[in-house]
Amino acid sequence: MTVVTGVTCPVCGTFCDDIELVVKDNVITDVRKACAMGAAKFLNYAAHRNLKPLVRKNGELVETSMDEVVERAAKILADANYPILYGWSNTSCEAIRVGLELAEEVGGVIDNTSTVCHGPSILSVQDVGIASCTLGQLRHRADLIFYWASNPWSAHPRHIERYTTFSEGRFQKSAWKGYLSSLRGVLSIKRLQRAANLVLRRDVFAAPKIERRLPYTMFQKKRKMVVVDVRKTRTAEAADYFLQVEPNKDYELLQAFRMLIRDEELDVDEVAGVPVEILEEVADVMVGCELGVFFFGVGLTMSEGKLRNVDAALSLTRDLNQRTKFLIMPMRGHFNVTGANVVFTWQTGYPYAIDFSHGYPRYNPGETSVIDILCRDEADAGLIVASDPVAHFPRMAAQNLVKNPLIAIDPEVTPTTLMADVVFPSAFVGIEAEGTAYRMDHVPLPLKKIVGPPKTCLPDEEILQRILHKVRKLRGSQN
């Protein structure tokens, strides 16, 4: 039995690197320090996995040899006039580098999952820029933390404890104790409510009563957390203040703040369902902080307004730097979606949605992005790496994806591998294969090999190399 320390967690964008694993004869038997998602991954990753290469023969997926799947995959890609190569945010940068070379070789479109995640954020960064930092900067200095349309408690469970409100920094102390005491208050209220419900035999859910003032704690000189969201989340309950915004109204709210922090007045009494007095007080808190930060989630990029919601958030942050120091960061989902953007960008100049069909990289999300291409039914083949579009794309896109020849490289059995025509069983990167990945704040960290993969499962990088090699053979191209 051995204990491996300093393991990076290949699940979410928080990309914790302090995990401890207990390994006994090539099996992970215990996980320390990880969150529920991380633990589930390390202990159960092998439960439903692809172990053999598969090809679809008259409708059914049947086991075959690695050579045959490589052959089949290479043929599909070499013959395609407009193939899609999609996924990439759950694999290593090393594999992504090969993926880009393959996409270039076959003149395809390569896109990563940020296209349905923070793609719009990237589009607005390209319009206005972004004032950001690494997470440690915030752990040390941030005294005002906003989680806007994001719910780290559920999606990035250790984010608050490692990097923000409940972390210990050089210039800012953890707000954990304060939270505990306030928590007791909240719980007792809930208890009373439940009691009342029993007595009165009905649900008394006080209609959202709108406070006209912020709680006094918001004006104290201490680390504060504010949550802005369309619904009260676990994170919101932990916050010093929860600002509930009407669905699809974030844009108005953010733009209003841009005026309020310049001490300008509005012609309206209410924005996105929030009285302006409140907004003015929140604006004062923003301007008054030592260092503030907005963490924003896909709540902004997926709701009405999309890139322009983020545009407004980035602009607000920039404007705030006229009065104090303020920074902003998207809450990236997959553990290496940031790495996918980074590698795409250094090799091609563009972070996602790259069209190689003319022999050089072209970029225009909305035109060269995978959802649009599928909805317009333009692709004639697909290669999916460590991603599950069949499960997560809108029905129409998913259907147009599965009707063409589909290649899947994935360690797990997913709706996508079930619908594919060629399936490569791969090793779990970060557990069975090493590599590099980028944390949501662009800090690169090593993915480690903890246990050996089954003999039939190769790392994504090697699988892609074999396909690339085969494609070049088929096309007889010189390089």
Binding site: T5, G6, T8, D17, C93, R97, E101, E104, I122, V125, Q126, D127, V128, G129, I130, A131, S132, C133, T134, L135, G136, Q137, R139, H140, R141, Y163, R170, F171, L291, R318, N321, T324, K325, L327, V342, V343, T345, W346, Q347, T348, G349, Y350, P351, F356, H358, G359, Y360, P361, R362, Y363, T436, Y438, H442, V443, P444, L445, P446, S477, Q478, N479
Partner: protein, 542 residues
């Protein structure tokens, strides 16, 4: 005269019958070009790429049988960067600003930058360990930490950017002078500079400290530049340089505001001409649309306020910061045109070409692809006059260029574009064609016996734009400006051997979780991580 090459090295002679012969008669043969300061890889450069699709779309390179595709203009993609340097006869490039925490990123990109040897400088001027140890006068401990950092990040030299200012920027502030204390750390930029200069000596690093001065890009800052050089005067040994002031043009502004801004090149040149402890590079400005990027967060924010252009900021915990702003240098802007003039004035007024090197601080002053233009300006008064006639009247009247008739010879150009840079970097096997040197050779199709660069500067420009041959490590990689053989370059890093790393590690380990958000064991980059690592062992005094 013949040059013999064998096994990637220059040798006395080879068996001619069995050797491949390159006929360079009527051409200029030089060592491969060496660039001491160009931002080509890493977090900051890549954020610049991400920020500017509109910059890429106008300049693309399609895939060929031998080369990868990519995009160009002001921040080329990695492959294109390598190809374009190689086509100009360059074989060694130095990436000057690497946030240590993000070193892996820089090296991943350098590995995807083909054709050239490379190295990169970690940013250490605002690292908490440096600030604290120097504040407490613990020079040797500081040196040991820097040594650890060099091998942890696979770095080559100590990079200092706006010392103290970047830490202050953590809370949105800056330092105004060399004696302005750094908030919360009670140490001054002067102490940081002197301290790291001593550390550099203790560690016997091949290059000097590589300094981007305080107050960069502010009128009147030529005084800060002079101060900076004077502060380390007494630390110099004999004629050995002790400090490199990079992209000096940006630190050579006279005047009290933008309206009165003028050139401080004369004063700086005067000082440099009388002292031997300083080397400089130009940071020449080109009239074009480019992308500015430095680790100088506060400077970049100022640039945003000036232009209103899109702005990227990226602060790095316990270490450094950085910023990016797209920028267009206009001929008709008095300030921009004066900057253009300053760069050339420095190169021409500093008598010894071994003290000042040609750079654009790519992409800050303009993309490196403009080097042939600069060579033409340096070699021809006519070329300078031609540009002068097109720039802002105010700038022209203030410019010292009309009064300067110096024109660099081909020999001097070879010094400012390779020999001098290699010497300053301590790359003994680069920058010359002597026996034992790396077989990195550039052949340019211009005949010095027949062509007068002063008049025929266009011919010269053309020749330097597309090398007739580039030979890298003994292999012909470029012919007539075309890549004929793609190769990887080496990555140099300094493997400092100190006698006291043990307790340093203990101290580091103790503070690690406190200072950073990553684990101690995940920070250092293993040598095997690099594509073609070339560690240079150095024995330190500590």
């Amino acid at each position: 005269m013949d040059i013999a090459i064998k096994d990637g090295k220059i040798v006395r002679k080879v068996e001619e019958k069995r050797a491949e012969v390159v006929d360079a008669s009527g051409m200029i043969v030089m060592p491969g070009g060496v660039d001491i300061h160009c931002h080509i890889a890493g977090a900051e450069v890549n954020s610049g790429r991400l920020l500017r699709p509109e910059d890429h779309v106008k300049d693309v390179e399609a895939k060929t049988a031998l080369t990868r595709s990519g995009v160009g203009y002001s921040i080329p993609s990695t492959f294109t960067t390598g190809y374009r340097y190689s086509r100009m006869g360059y074989t060694t490039v130095m990436n000057p600003s690497m946030p240590p925490l993000e070193a892996r990123h820089t090296h991943e990109e350098l590995d995807d930058t083909p054709m050239v040897d490379k190295a990169t400088y970690p940013l250490l001027g605002d690292w908490w360990f440096v600030l604290e140890h120097l504040r407490d006068g613990l020079i040797e401990e500081c040196a040991a930490h820097v040594a650890w950092m060099m091998s942890a990040t696979k770095g080559y030299a100590i990079k200092i950017v706006n010392p103290g200012g970047l830490e202050a920027w953590g809370f949105g502030r800056n330092v105004e002078s060399l004696d302005d204390p750094v908030p919360y750390f009670n140490i001054t930029p002067r102490e940081i500079l002197r301290g790291l200069c001593k550390v550099n000596k203790l560690l016997n690093l091949p290059h000097t400290i590589h300094v981007h001065t305080n107050n960069l890009g502010k009128p009147g800052n030529y005084l800060t530049a002079l101060e900076t050089m004077k502060r380390v005067e007494d630390l110099a040994e004999g004629n050995q340089p002790a400090i490199h002031i990079t992209h000096c043009q940006f630190s050579a502004f006279k005047g009290s505001d933008w309206r009165t801004m003028s050139s401080g090149a004369e004063e700086i040149a005067k000082y440099v001409n009388h002292h031997n402890h300083v080397t400089l590079d130009m940071g020449q400005v080109i009239f074009t649309d480019t992308t500015t990027m430095t680790a100088d967060g506060p400077f970049q924010y100022g640039l945003y306020n000036l232009t209103g252009n899109k702005w990227v900021n990226h602060d790095v915990e316990t270490e450094t910061s950085s910023g990016i702003v797209p920028f267009r240098y206009k001929r008709k802007s008095a300030v921009h045109a004066t900057q253009w003039s300053i760069g050339l004035e420095l190169a021409l007024l500093i008598k010894d070409p071994w003290k000042i090197y040609m750079t654009t601080d790519h992409p800050n002053g303009g993309p490196f692809t403009a080097y042939p233009k600069i060579i033409a300006w340096l070699m021809s008064q006519v070329a300078r006059k031609k540009t002068l006639s097109k720039i802002s009247k105010r700038a022209r009247q203030r410019s010292l260029l009309p009064s300067i008739d110096r024109e660099l010879s081909f020999y001097e150009v070879a010094v400012v574009t390779r020999a001098g840079q290699a010497k300053a970097l301590g790359l003994k096997q680069k920058g010359h064609l002597g026996v034992g040197a790396d077989a990195d050779v550039a052949v340019y199709n211009v005949n010095p016996e027949q062509v007068d660069p002063s008049k025929k500067y266009k011919t010269v420009r053309k020749a330097f734009k597309r090398a007739a041959y580039t030979i890298k490590g003994g292999e012909i990689v470029v012919k007539d400006g075309q890549i004929v053989r793609p190769v990887f370059g080496k990555t140099f890093w300094i493997d400092v051997k100190t006698s006291l790393p043990m307790e340093v590690n203990a101290d580091l380990k103790r503070k690690f979780r406190e200072y950073w958000t990553v684990e101690y064991e995940n920070y250092p980059i293993p040598n095997r991580f690099l594509h073609v690592p070339a560690p240079i062992p150095v024995k330190a005094e500590v």
